[in-house]
């Protein structure tokens, strides 16, 4: 039971890294990124493939963050030239293209068969509980750092600038600030976080296939930050925990309700997520942890 809870905690923390990044992008600079899972996939494959070819895990994790962060750079340049909604479509296309490349380039990624046997973190510790605990601890540390970084960014002069970008980009330009650079930096930072999350994911699950990196993952994260409240650390945490309760809870529910197949449950899960996205945008756009005084 304890190791099950620990497993859930690890997955929750991985999703939390994704939520932090997306929340920072949308909540601060107003970027609508529908391709977050693409950076997650780049991180997962980078670290997994490097580790399998003998690179130490510390280096492969850094490489994962770096690869995802650098990929975000041209995307950021594109974002400067497009309106929000067009950027959303482009990023969605980007993540699908990443997946198609993973599927097609079999020499590198083994295509749809996926990459098995990825080394675990802390393999020197006895297999099982201790290694899991150490992984969770490391993730918690990384998430705390990410939260601190996010908090710093939101509260710093830099953060006030990015909030101003969201509120009125033209006024900011007139004041002589360069919002473009901040936009790109935020995108690169949060994509690097997504890449790191991907590395943790790959080395925790130890087996990755392209099917794990479908756009649905992006929208899970969107659901988490919309429910929790965009642009807030507390919102990202509450939303991610609720997302996990929902995803895991629906698995348990199936054990209690006989006659519901796994595919039916998957359909139901998508339906509930869709409904929540609609209801929250209609009735509570600021999320659970959002500002109650505003609407």
């Amino acid at each position: 039971m304890l190791s099950y809870l620990l497993a859930i905690a690890i997955i929750t923390l991985i999703y939390l890294l994704l939520s932090f990044g997306l929340s920072l992008q949308y909540g601060s600079v107003g970027l609508i990124n529908f391709g977050h899972v693409g950076f997650f996939a780049i991180g997962a494959y980078t670290s997994a493939l490097l580790a399998l070819s003998g690179v130490p895990l510390f280096a492969s994790f850094c490489a994962a963050a770096l690869a995802a962060g650098l990929t975000a750079w041209p995307i950021g340049l594109i974002s400067l030239r497009l309106r929000d909604d067009y950027f959303a479509i482009v990023t969605l296309g980007f993540s699908e293209t990443v997946r198609i490349i993973i599927v097609s380039e079999k020499w590198l990624t083994n295509g749809v068969q996926g990459v098995p046997g990825i080394p675990r973190l802390f393999s020197s510790l006895p297999v099982g509980f201790e290694a899991q605990l150490a992984t969770a601890g490391l993730l918690l540390a990384v998430c705390t750092l990410a939260a601190l970084a996010m908090w710093r960014i939101i509260k710093s002069p830099f953060g006030r600038i990015i909030q101003a970008i969201r509120d009125n980009e033209d006024a900011l330009k007139a004041l002589g600030k360069d919002p473009a650079r901040f936009k790109i930096q935020v995108l690169m930072l949060s994509s690097a976080l997504a890449g790191l999350a991907g590395a943790f994911y790959a080395h925790y699950i130890t087996f990755i296939i392209p099917e794990q990196f479908v756009p649905l993952v992006t929208f899970y994260v969107w659901m988490a930050i919309i429910i929790g409240g965009v642009g807030r650390i507390s919102g990202a945490i509450v939303g991610t925990v609720l997302l996990m309760v929902f995803l895991e809870g629906s698995r348990f529910l199936r054990d209690f309700i006989p006659g519901v197949t796994e595919v039916e449950m998957a359909s139901l899960r998508i339906g509930v997520i869709g409904l929540l996205l609609i209801l929250f945008t209609l009735y509570r756009p600021q999320g659970i942890m959002g500002d109650y005084t505003k609407r």
Partner: protein, 287 residues
Amino acid sequence: MYFAQLAVNGLVQGLVISLAAMSITLVFGIVRFPNAATGDVMTVGAFSGLVVYPMTGSLLASGIFAVIVTAAVALISHLLVFRRLAGRSVVALLVASIGVGFVLRSIMGLVFGHQPMVFSMPLSRPYRIGGLAINPLDLQLALLAAVMLALAFAVLHLTPIGRQMRAVADNPSLARVSGIRSGRVLAALWVLAGAIAGAGGVMLGVKTVVNPEMGWDMLMPAFAAAIFGGIGSPAGALLAGLILGVVQEMSTPFVGFTYKIALSFAIMLVVLLRRPTGLLGRIEGVR
């Protein structure tokens, strides 16, 4: 000759993309957000057609039924969701449309399951015209699409409501002060957009297999065609869809089957960065 054959096959694929792109571009031109539920409305159309087809054995009857169902679905989504988000940010509409798409996909998955289904069409010998093999089924599908397109353009250009729609697309505030009742116009728009998507869905279902994810996979090429054609321009969407279909099909020998989807993404990116007005669009801010 091989490439000519691919081009002919591409035209039918292209018509499907065209219909999807037209549905997107109509909504985008007037309600001003990219409707991500379009693909899933197509899925609803395909399943509706699939229900009627074994009963009647007529492609036309299934097409008509599907179009009625999807028009209703689109109208309901407008009344329940999108109308209430009027005046809110693009993000709100976009996220809500993803939600609507998920709900539709979930309903399709629960009702029909995830086993891929097919329209069991009788096999027929292809016509041979100067070495080109043309499948009679493709011809029927093209005809179905042509009827839908003709209807759509007739509504847009020959009826008062269509004229009002174009007026709202052009300049919403001018349209309002000249006494156009936007509520009616919007309702008509959603019915039209839903009907077009439904026709596309039936075509896609006949050409490939019907499953709850089929429409979502069409979304990328459809967005690409809508942008390539010029947002808000139905004729542009039609043209761009056809071009995209032919290019995708003809590139398959070079880039392989999987990469042809990425091709539409590349085309979209180039158009957005180099010529954001697309083929027939007007100058409008995409930046």
